[in-house]
């Protein structure tokens, strides 16, 4: 490995193997060991569509600073075997500085890999593993890669102990011994330096678990959901933790049911949530309108995947923006937010609960497969306190109006059990007293009220992340934010200093005044997002009269954005 790779600020590794080879487990241990050794990192799982026996890859990037996206190229590609490698490794990039580690007993390195001209190293993983009772090739690979990353044996041992401790001492020792063997074979390959100080205060968290944590912090105590890739982990993480917190999760028969269960629970006064992905969101759309009309607080987590229809379930895309923003029939004001990184899933989801409870409206959170299923090493994510309280009815008198016309559009809500507050929440248009009404004045005043409470709410500084004050504005949203941030950091100083990054966390309602203020003094803007039709770009043009030349750069999934792709686009645009 050359000096160039050794001096780089991050180390990118792919760990490949057929299903059952344990590459994901080894990848997670490597990430955890690196964290214990004082590094930051990110790991993305790439898996084939097969349930078992398919190929899988762990894409890992380690660094001295927080890592929030993958790099363009790989420093090390280690394959326990090469079965179906082409299918999963189609979007990886190697070069002559890259090292490919292969087991000589396995098949030849595929031509698509050797075509990059990387250095090839042999590591007899199966043979070494066989030297140890209970040893496995993936643990040999773990030790080898940890050594390449400069991660101490102690950190590896601790990571193994933590992950496998439940399997007993023998299993732990076998893995530790196998990792040692791998480590011993990599002595002359060390290409990265980990601080190796004692550092066990950091977190390892995925976007989907971070979303669950944000929901718990926000006060969600009821969830309903139907399994769907790539959102299922949100539900699976929440289920036992909701129980511990005095709440519960109900598995529904379909997404129509899960959304309505959440509406029912929230009507009962319990902050409620559902989590899904594109096809499920489509099924839920009618009842999101019900939550708008009946004014029921509700959080809908949508972990986006490539669409339309079933699309590419295990791959990422930011293409549900239109469905989330425009999907509901009728005039249906609601809120759409998007987390800007894996760790921001905590904050944005917690904020979503706060917004839903405060406005008595549905809030859609647009996460995606990239950040949802990525694991990162991060500093502990601090808790932020919102008041997150519903405006409940008090002093209910004879003339109580559930849908009273109020200045801020939010009407005090009675909960079942409150004497005198009885009303029927209705999908029909209604009067302030919640009586069904087809009268023009009732329709207009309720439409106005429901629009006002969303439009006039004080979203504060949370509506967007704004970095820099240059005259060239890069506007992006959601998971693309982290990649754009790194891309900007790589630009030459003279361009970098001219860039201003704006990433709205609040997508709906549009914030034309705030956006206009945010671009003050700028001359041009480039909108970057990951879909095929520039969905957010067109929304931005429709709702914001920006005094700028606005251009767009967008492409669909399934591959995640890499920094160079965005850096190139920004550079070319900046030179126009």
């Amino acid at each position: 490995m050359t000096d160039q790779a050794a001096s780089a600020s991050s180390l990118s590794i792919a760990l490949f193997g057929k299903g059952g080879a344990g590459v994901i487990t080894a990848g997670e241990m490597l990430l955890a060991a690196a964290a214990r050794a004082g590094l930051y990192g990110m790991m993305i799982r790439a898996v084939g569509p097969q349930i078992r026996g398919g190929e899988s890859a762990a894409l890992i990037r380690l660094g001295h600073a927080p890592v929030n996206c993958l790099d363009d190229r790989l420093d090390v590609l280690l394959a326990i075997d090469w079965k179906h490698a082409e299918r999963l490794l189609s979007d990886i990039e190697l070069d002559q500085d890259s090292v490919v580690v292969t087991d000589p007993e396995e098949a030849e390195v595929p031509a698509s890999i050797t075509a990059f001209g990387p250095q090839i190293r042999e590591l007899p993983m199966a043979e070494l593993a066989a030297e140890i009772d209970g040893g496995r090739a993936n643990m040999v690979a773990l030790g080898y890669l940890a050594a390449v990353a400069g991660v101490s044996q102690k950190a590896v041992d601790e990571a193994i102990e933590k992950k496998l401790g439940r399997k007993g001492k023998k299993a732990v020792q076998a893995s530790i011994d196998a990792a040692k063997l791998g480590c011993s074979r990599a002595a002359n390959l060390k290409s990265f330096e980990a601080p190796n100080g004692s550092s066990d205060s950091r977190w390892m968290i995925s976007g989907n678990h971070a979303t669950g944590l944000g929901a718990m912090r926000g006060g969600i105590r009821f969830a309903a959901g139907y399994p769907i890739t790539p959102a299922t982990e949100v539900l699976e993480w929440l289920a036992p933790r909701l129980n511990d917190a005095g709440g519960t999760l109900t598995q529904a028969e379909d997404e129509l049911a899960s959304l309505n269960m959440a509406i029912g629970a929230s009507f009962g006064g319990v902050p409620s949530l559902t989590a899904t992905s594109g096809p499920g969101l489509s099924l839920m759309i009618e009842s999101i309108g019900l939550a708008v009309c009946a004014e029921i607080p509700l959080v809908i987590i949508n972990v986006m995947r490539a669409g339309p229809s079933t699309g590419i379930p295990t791959s990422t895309e930011q293409s549900d923006f239109n469905a989330a923003v425009y999907g509901v029939h009728g005039d249906a004001p609601h809120i759409v937010v998007a987390p800007t990184s894996v760790s921001d899933c905590v904050y944005t989801t917690q904020w979503a609960v706060h917004l839903a409870e405060a406005t008595q409206a549905p809030v859609i959170v647009l996460s995606d497969q990239f950040i949802g299923q990525a694991n990162v090493i991060t500093e502990p994510i601090p808790e932020i306190t919102f008041f997150s309280k519903r405006k409940l009815a008090e002093d209910i008198g004879e003339d109580f109006e559930r849908y009273a016309i109020t200045a801020d559009g939010v009407s005090p809500m009675p909960l079942p059990g409150m004497p005198g507050g009885q009303y029927t929440a209705d999908s029909l248009e209604h009067s302030p007293r919640a009586v069904p009404s087809g009268l023009a004045n009732n329709h207009l005043e309720q439409l106005d009220k429901r629009a006002r409470k969303i439009a006039d709410f004080d979203y504060g500084q949370h509506w967007a992340d704004i970095e820099g004050d240059g005259d060239l504005v890069v506007i992006t949203w959601g998971s693309t934010t982290s990649v754009a941030r790194e891309a900007i950091g790589r630009l030459p100083e003279e361009i970098k200093n001219r860039i201003r990054l704006i990433s709205p966390r609040l997508l709906l309602p549009a914030m034309p005044e705030q956006m206009t203020a945010a671009v003050n003094g700028a001359s041009r803007a480039l909108v970057i997002e990951q879909n095929h039709s520039g969905q957010f770009y067109r929304f931005l043009r429709a709702f914001h009269d920006l005094p700028l030349d606005v251009q767009a750069m967008y492409r669909p999934g399934p591959t995640v954005f890499r920094p160079r792709e965005i850096a190139t686009a920004i550079r070319e645009w900046s030179e126009q």
């Binding site: 511990d244 005095g246 129509l256 319990v270 009842s287 004497p419 029927t424 009586v435």
Partner: protein
């Protein structure tokens, strides 16, 4: 509305005063009456009752009651009621609607509500027709019923709700007739009291689009057999009866759905610990 509910209310105290949209002579008036009598007999404070419905003539019932209510979207009453009861086990939750709402667009939810066995009572006012859209065949309509949308009849077998409820695991299955408000009241009281998912089909004539159903008054008769706790026996009976047996046909003792919102055993701040590397 009184701020403090008295312990004992009359049936009329459970009426909101909103005038129903139903046609004069509609069977749903009697179901409404029976429902108020049933909750009055059970002495349930109106604020502790929630009536959840979907869309259709009969689904208008929550607004006519002085209880908490939810008139949701077409076909989704059962999941909404399920979420409410799981979140608020202290409430008495009654789900109500028609045959189109419950057996067609919401059919899948019926299967899973029976199976889940959450402690709610589901009242279906069955008139074998879509009334609100003016006379299309529903899942319980006979195959030869002539209509504009299906001239000469839909030509497909009607759905058998009680058998399906039994097969899906409902814990209480009964058939009532709206024209017998006292009998219906009794069945509803029994259904609400019975733990788990109680399913009550109420034959409720549509005088406008099914004037032939006026004959139901002559056709109905008390079920000639005792209530059974054997689901297979109950299923065989309802499969082979004339569709007009009235009474509680099955009472099971399956454990009701156990999960519900309750007490915290762990502070949410503890969650942070599990993310430490």
């Amino acid at each position: 509305m009184s701020v403090q509910a008295p312990c004992k209310l009359k049936a009329s105290d459970y009426k909101s005063g909103t005038k129903p949209v139903w046609c004069p002579g509609c069977g749903d008036f009697h179901v409404f009456l029976s429902m108020t009598k049933a909750v009055a007999e059970l002495a349930l404070p109106p604020e502790n009752i929630a009536v959840v419905s979907g869309i259709g003539c009969s689904s208008r019932i929550p607004a006519y009651l002085n209880c908490y209510g939810f008139h949701g979207v077409h076909g989704r009453a059962l999941p909404l009621a399920t979420g409410l009861k799981v979140a608020r086990p202290d409430l008495t939750v009654i789900c109500a609607g028609g045959d189109g709402d419950g057996f067609s667009i919401g059919g899948n939810h019926l299967l899973h509500a029976c199976r889940r066995n959450v402690d709610i009572t589901y009242v279906v006012m069955d008139n074998e027709i879509y009334g609100m859209t003016k006379g299309q065949p529903s899942p319980t309509t006979a195959p030869d019923f002539d209509s504009k949308i299906a001239p000469g009849g839909p030509g497909i077998s009607p759905f058998h709700p009680l058998v399906i409820a039994l097969a899906s695991g409902a814990n209480f299955v009964a058939r009532a007739f709206s024209g017998d408000p006292n009998g219906t009241t009794k069945i509803l009281v029994d259904a609400i009291r019975h733990p788990g998912f109680s399913f009550v089909q109420i034959l409720s004539p549509c005088v406008t689009f099914r004037p032939d159903q006026r004959e139901w008054k002559q056709k109905v008769h008390p079920a000639p057999v005792e209530t059974t706790s054997d689901a297979a026996r109950a299923a065989r009976r309802v499969m082979t009866d004339d569709g007009f047996n009235i009474g509680v046909l099955y009472k099971g003792s399956r454990d009701k759905y156990a999960q519900s919102v309750g007490n915290s055993v762990r502070h949410e701040r503890d969650l942070d610990q599990e993310f430490l590397v």
